[in-house]
Assembly symmetry: C2
Homo-oligomer: 322 residues x 2
């Protein structure tokens, strides 16, 4: 079966459907950050979305198209934020959720998914292990599978963040998001191609998990298994629908190092007073390294999430900061 | 000479004067925080103000009333944020600034003031040492003194944050700010008394620097010298005009421990994804401890600033966070 590739109309329909069910997140700026990069940068703060990440948009876009009476149980696998989003969306819709999650995910994310009322099923890291576990459960329990990224409803939902950003901020010349499975960059590209035809759409990826970069360069979909990156939301490999959108609608994919990711988290905390998770810091790091294009441009960046495990942050353990 | 006590009209005039010169900061909410305290809490994000703190409002309100030709040089003493604000406001107005600053202030604040173009004069901690140094300089150089809090123009300017919050969020039952010298709580009380007559105005103070608490309870203005609190913005003692407003317009002053302050910083980072400085965390800590009143209320909190020295935050030094 040929997978259905979503289009701009799907993103617009998702935005109309999501309406009051999501947070219309603020767009923030920082003169200090602009001075660092020599550009005017507009940050779409999806770290302030319900559940602390853009993933709630896609998950809710799927669940609003399901009837809770006929489909009381949904299931997914997720490195964290999608599972959290699906759990929260299921609760809001009166449905139950099962989340298959790799053991090496951030503890704060696992705890949040449990708190949101989902049943957790732990699995080994890597996409093959996740899919195997999912299949085992689906063989026993009838549930609607909500894939974290390779689903046209998910991609369309994720695209609504860029839709809002582009509607609010005119004349952007570049828009960048992180690339994991490719739901966010795919939806963003769909929104951008119509709303801002001349814009450059740039995916940003950890060099340690550069499956999309390799796929984009080679023209063939490639994957990496359990990559060693701090950006725990970007360890998955690009999906089928997502690669098709990447190939046809995205202008470039750039990579950043692990040290650049951590430095970018710090810069955002310093300049914008905002906590972002490592995955979110990837396009910020690309901007700081000058990899989103020449100086002087108007740049939009989707800050994808803010779920960081603060238990690992010594200065906040109660010892004082001096 | 009897000091002039500002009134509500001064706050309204300041808001009109400040207009486009300041950031109209966002009001943020967090369901997770609301669940912790059993209240609906609205955070006025002055950590996102120009210079990273509410202090820019007061400083700019003074400088917009001075003629840069006739008054090319301004001077102040400040534990950090007021000095930074005055330096930035002076630069914006084409004036020069001298800032007398205690040696024990946060390094990030001193660096920011220098970067903003002010001349730095270091002094020993404590209000008497600051005032002595200021007098020495004023004896040599003619400059307009812009006191950090005991000035009716400063108090009126600081009140514009609460004016915005109360105009945007109806039916608040409590509003709380930190208390250092008393510029913010004084201006807030002026705005609240007219815009929200039944509201309770509560000042929050570190127990280690409880001069306003003691003053409020005893009915006599008291001071503390070089108090040992992590909240470096609140080490000064309450001013003359500020005490008068505290006595007549504020409903209560509550205190919090140092551990409660640090814990509150972490909670805000976790729930709101926002970095706030220790001084800002003081009313948040009071809310978390239930000291702002019973559950079920609508509470406004002014997050006064976000200038934290990230060099002291190990997980952001580039070591990775896992």
């Amino acid at each position: 079966m040929t997978p259905r590739i979503p289009d701009f109309a799907d993103v617009v329909a998702a935005a109309a459907r999501l309406g009051p069910h999501i947070v219309r997140t603020p767009v923030m700026r920082s003169p200090a950050f602009d001075a660092r990069v020599g550009c005017s940068v507009f940050f779409k703060c999806e770290n302030l979305q319900t559940g602390g990440a853009f993933k709630y948009r896609g998950a809710m876009n799927v669940l609003l198209q399901l009837d809770p009476q006929r489909t009381p149980l949904v299931i997914t696998h997720s490195s964290g934020n999608h599972g959290n989003a699906l759990a929260l969306a299921a609760r809001a819709r009166g449905m139950r959720a099962i989340v298959v999650i790799p053991r090496d995910s951030a503890r704060s994310k696992i705890a949040a998914i449990e708190a949101a009322g989902a049943r957790i099923e732990l699995c080994e890291p890597g996409l093959p292990a996740r899919e195997k576990r999912l299949a085992e459960i689906l063989a026993r329990e009838p549930a609607e599978l909500v894939h974290p990224f390779d689903d046209e409803r998910i991609i369309a939902g994720q695209g609504t963040a860029a839709l809002e950003l582009l509607a609010e901020i005119p004349a952007l010349e570049v828009i960048s998001t992180p690339v994991g499975g490719g739901g966010l960059i795919g939806g963003t590209a769909l929104a951008a191609r119509v709303l801002a035809p001349g814009i450059r759409v740039v995916g940003a990826e950890p060099a340690q998990a550069d499956d999309a970069y390799q796929s984009f360069r080679s023209g063939e979909r490639r994957s990496v298994n359990a990559p060693a990156t701090i950006a725990d939301g970007l360890r998955g490999s690009i999906g089928v629908r997502n690669f098709e959108l990447l190939r046809t609608h995205v202008d470039d994919v750039v990579t950043v190092s692990e040290a650049e990711i951590v430095a970018a988290m710090r810069v955002v905390l310093d300049d914008l007073k905002l906590l972002i998770e490592p995955s979110s810091a990837v396009p910020v790091a690309a901007a700081l390294a000058g990899r989103l294009g020449p100086r002087g441009q108007r740049v939009g960046i989707v800050l994808s999430g803010g779920n960081v495990d603060l238990g690992l942050c010594p200065f906040l353990r109660g010892d004082g900061i001096r």
